[in-house]
């Protein structure tokens, strides 16, 4: 069962929900897909036992074979290759690693080489009952603008028989879409403010296009206004959990301490959340 935790707006509590759920759900697998700013490890404190580079295949041009015909530059949709004078210029940061240039080159002057764009770290963390569960996060290299290939690589490690939790990046563009694709269910974490509602509606729009059913968690539920609740009622989206603002919990969060280890009441709430999600998916 694959569950994505998303939000649209950043800072609503995606990682809080994802990590606490991972700590209480039996046989969990936690995968941090927010590869630009992965934070789950700060709360789960995993033991990392494997680190692998994620590479992108970028063109390598053999100048002896190249006839400067410029077809590679014409074919590249990302303007990553240009022929200037007697030289083929490559802009690796624009390259998507699609292989089109290599395919079209009439002189077979293009081969490929791997460019490191990030890392995957795999290991395990301990649940509240002391059982080990699988932890993975992708880390995009600073300066690398292209993150979906890292997310895709991380998702190759999904073990379907587990309760898989995908911690999604904020927003609604490619990295978020790449995370959601193939999920059975999506939890949208939001806060009852105009910003929270605006971005929630956009994120729900993505999930609906991907035909992924959604449920809502309202964080800091006692602040702001009633907009989210009215929206959920109108759109018939279940509210699975409401978490009121608690300064002690916010303080614990700031130190990297998980809520389920702080409050027995919240531990129960997250156990119930897990059961509700399973019921929703099996519905």
């Amino acid at each position: 069962m694959i569950i994505a935790i998303a939000s649209g707006k950043g800072g609503t509590g995606k990682t809080t929900i994802a990590t606490n759920l991972a700590l209480v759900a039996p046989a969990a697998q936690y995968l941090d897909c927010d590869v630009e700013e992965p934070n789950g490890h700060l709360f789960l404190k995993p033991a990392i036992d494997k680190q692998t580079d994620v590479t992108l295949p970028i063109p390598l041009i053999n100048e002896e074979l190249c006839s400067l015909c410029g077809l590679c530059a014409t074919a590249c949709e990302f303007n990553a290759i240009a022929v200037i004078g007697k030289k083929v210029m490559l802009f690796p940061e624009l390259c998507h690693g699609c292989g089109t240039c290599m395919f079209v080159c009439p002189e077979t002057a293009i081969t490929e080489t791997g460019k490191v764009i990030g890392q995957l770290e795999q290991g395990s963390a301990k649940s509240v009952t002391g059982d080990k569960f699988t932890f993975t996060h992708g880390i995009s290299k600073i300066g690398n603008p292209l993150t979906p290939p890292i997310i895709k690589r991380a998702k190759k490690l999904i073990e379907n028989e587990r309760f898989v939790i995908l911690d999604a990046p904020p927003g609604t563009s490619c990295p978020m879409v790449q995370t959601l694709i193939g999920s059975d269910y999506c939890i949208m974490v939001t806060e009852p403010t105009p910003f929270g509602l605006n971005d929630l509606e956009l994120a729900i729009g993505v999930a609906r296009q991907l035909k992924i059913p959604c449920g809502i968690v309202i964080n800091r539920s006692d602040s702001g206004d009633q907009g989210i609740k009215k929206y959920c009622q109108r759109e018939n989206i279940p509210i699975l959990l409401e978490i009121p603002f608690d300064r002690d919990l916010a303080f614990a969060y700031s130190k990297g301490e998980a809520a389920v280890n702080q409050s027995p009441q919240l531990r129960e709430s997250f156990q119930n959340l897990h059961l509700k999600i399973v019921a929703e998916v099996e519905k």
């Binding site: 649209g8 700013e37 600073i142 904020p170 609604t172 700031s254």
Partner: protein
């Protein structure tokens, strides 16, 4: 003209709250919302559209089924798993997985695939109570957010030149990827809004790394500084160590949410401590911009 971008790394630290306040406090400026996939600045500044345009972000493949022989060459070559096949409906492009690289169009032996211009969103020039603003809306689940950010910034610059204005303020997106890169390359100054949580600090360091990568001067402000004073001290130490100016420490105060619910910037809504800190911070940022 000077250009300032407000970023954070971590989402939800208060970028838009700070930007909206600066929008009210700054004079002779143009505003740009560079968070194109979850834009929020318009909720506070309630813009009235002056013009609205399609954003043609790129091209996408389209299969002509009269020519397609289901040979499967596209499926074999596609590196993005973006070609689905079923005996009933033949080969189909999965637009969510598609990277629009055109390899399938080049490879199709029947020339059955062509690349068609795609509209990935809309962008707007609007009037607000604090001057003109350029903003955009990326289509749901669409690609090319970095390109749209670049377009928004360019249009805002043109507007500033045309109206003879001396400042452009960009509300940036979260993260350190493609849209953030597009929002900060070539600007005069970046303001990083962080919070004293392990996540906030971790992400500030990564986004500061990105600023250094592009050699862009940065300032830091701590939001909700009193949530964890030990961590706030660590941020101060980080700033000292890296020669970063810390220009403001905003307290945790429900007034920020109340202002947002009232659709006002915090400096319009209230004149308490938060407003005072933000006003002082703006003076410091202004000074940095002119130095």
């Amino acid at each position: 003209m000077k250009e300032l971008t407000i970023i954070s790394g971590k989402g939800g630290t208060g970028k838009t709250t700070v930007t909206a306040a600066f929008a009210i406090l700054a004079e002779n400026k143009v505003l740009a919302d560079c968070d194109v996939d979850a834009a929020d600045l318009h909720l506070i500044l309630t813009p009235e559209e002056i013009s609205s345009n399609d954003f043609v972000g790129g091209r996408a493949p389209q299969i002509n089924y009269e020519k397609c022989t289901d040979c499967g060459e596209c499926l074999r070559l596609c590196r993005f798993d973006a070609i689905d096949f079923s005996p009933e409906s033949g080969h189909k492009i999965n637009e969510f997985a598609c990277d629009c690289c055109a390899l399938c169009a080049w490879a199709c032996p029947e020339k059955a695939i062509s690349m068609i211009d795609t509209i990935n969103g809309r962008w707007f020039i609007s009037a607000t109570r604090s001057g003109k603003m350029v903003h955009a809306r990326l289509g749901i689940g669409e690609d090319n957010s970095g390109k749209l950010v670049a377009l928004v910034r360019n249009q805002a610059k043109l507007l500033a030149q045309k109206d003879n204005l001396e400042l452009l303020i960009n509300d940036g997106p979260p993260g350190i990827g493609c849209p953030v890169t597009a929002a900060i390359t070539g600007v005069d100054l970046v303001l990083i809004v962080t919070e004293p949580t392990l996540s906030g600090m971790h992400d500030m360091e990564r986004v500061h790394g990105l600023c250094r990568h592009f050699d862009i001067p940065a300032l830091v402000c701590v939001n909700r500084y009193d949530l964890n004073l030990i961590n706030t001290q660590k941020i101060r130490d980080y700033c000292t160590e890296h020669n970063l100016k810390l220009v403001g420490e905003i307290p945790l105060d429900p007034i920020v949410n109340k202002a947002q619910v009232a659709r006002q910037s915090v400096v319009e809504f209230d004149c308490g401590r938060v407003s005072q800190v933000v006003r002082e911070m703006w003076e410091k940022v202004k000074q940095e911009l002119s130095s």
